[in-house]
Amino acid sequence: MKELVQYLARSLVDNPDAVEVIETQGETASVLELKVAKQDLGRIIGKQGRTAKSIRTILNAAASRVNRKVILEIVEER
């Protein structure tokens, strides 16, 4: 899952090197925290959150194949 998010994010941003994903595995669910360069945040979220929503949809489809839940958090750097 981590690699999938990493790949999706990298193919969307201008700054692929700044993409960072931290995965925290729970019993049935995983939390994925995605960090990107500040100027790329818009690319990841998209107009009315459509890009972020699409990433989550793809993640959920992949996760449901292995009967897990995945939560994607997009983390803003400060």
Partner: protein
């Protein structure tokens, strides 16, 4: 009325750019020339041709924002189309691999020249289609984003398909359009349909276009955009 402005090296180029963006035919729009090409002195003060294009009927257009881009010179539509198709295919192959899906992708031309279909074969596609096609749509959206930013304005549209989903969806929508059209006429009430994608609405508009007893319209913004089927008391006039 829906309209947009476009630029080009010549007036004809500008019109073509607008038609490609709206994905409509020349007959469906009226064109107003805003300014002709200006040469300028040593390139200073040079201007491109600008036109405003208005849709004649309420044909739905894609609501996505389009950045202003310079049309590439000496472009070869065919070449850039296959380049986009191949790039899209490479990214899709990698996404599917990371999703744990066993599948091959076939790249083929779509119904219109501006579309390229990436057909996913091999896996039992139901999982990739998702509820009401939402997973396919998400894949398509991400691919368009990932591929699109790096090509010119003339880029073709990528369609992600599996197990003929789009074909089946189109049939379903056409049946629904005709059924709701009959309902609107029989009950003399306006029928509204919620939560359809721009593409889905377009299919309904086109299906009911030739029925003189009803007109179709879209109302609202973004995700809240609805399609209305309005019964006409009198025969629709030839020219609105």
């Amino acid at each position: 009325m829906e309209h947009m402005e476009a630029e080009g090296e010549t007036i004809d180029d500008a019109i073509e750019n607008a038609l490609n963006t709206l994905r409509v035919e020349r007959e469906q729009v009226t064109v107003e020339i805003l300014s002709d090409v200006k040469k300028g002195i040593l390139g200073i003060g040079a201007r491109k041709a600008r036109v405003r294009v208005s849709l004649r009927r309420s044909i739905d257009i894609d609501q996505e924002p389009r950045e202003e881009r310079q049309p590439p010179t000496n472009r070869s539509m065919k070449e850039s189309a296959s380049a986009v198709g191949e790039r899209g295919k490479d990214i899709l192959v990698e996404i599917l691999r990371l999703m744990g899906v066993q599948a091959t992708i076939e790249v083929k031309p779509g119904e219109t020249g501006e579309e390229i279909v990436l057909d996913i074969r091999g896996d039992n596609g139901g999982l990739l289609i998702g509820r009401r096609g939402q997973t396919l749509e998400a894949l398509q959206y991400i691919l368009t984003r990932a591929v699109g930013e790096r090509h010119g304005a003339e880029r073709p549209q990528l369609i992600v398909d599996t197990e003929n989903y789009h074909e089946r969806r189109k049939k379903t929508l056409e049946d629904m359009a005709l059924r709701l059209g009959e309902k609107a006429k029989r009950q003399r009430t306006t029928v509204s349909i919620d939560s359809l994608s721009a593409r889905d609405r377009r299919i309904i508009h086109l299906t009911l276009e030739d029925d003189p007893w009803i007109t179709t319209r879209s109302l609202g913004q973004g995700a809240y955009r609805r399609l209305l089927i309005v019964p006409e008391g009198d025969r629709k006039k030839k020219e609105p």
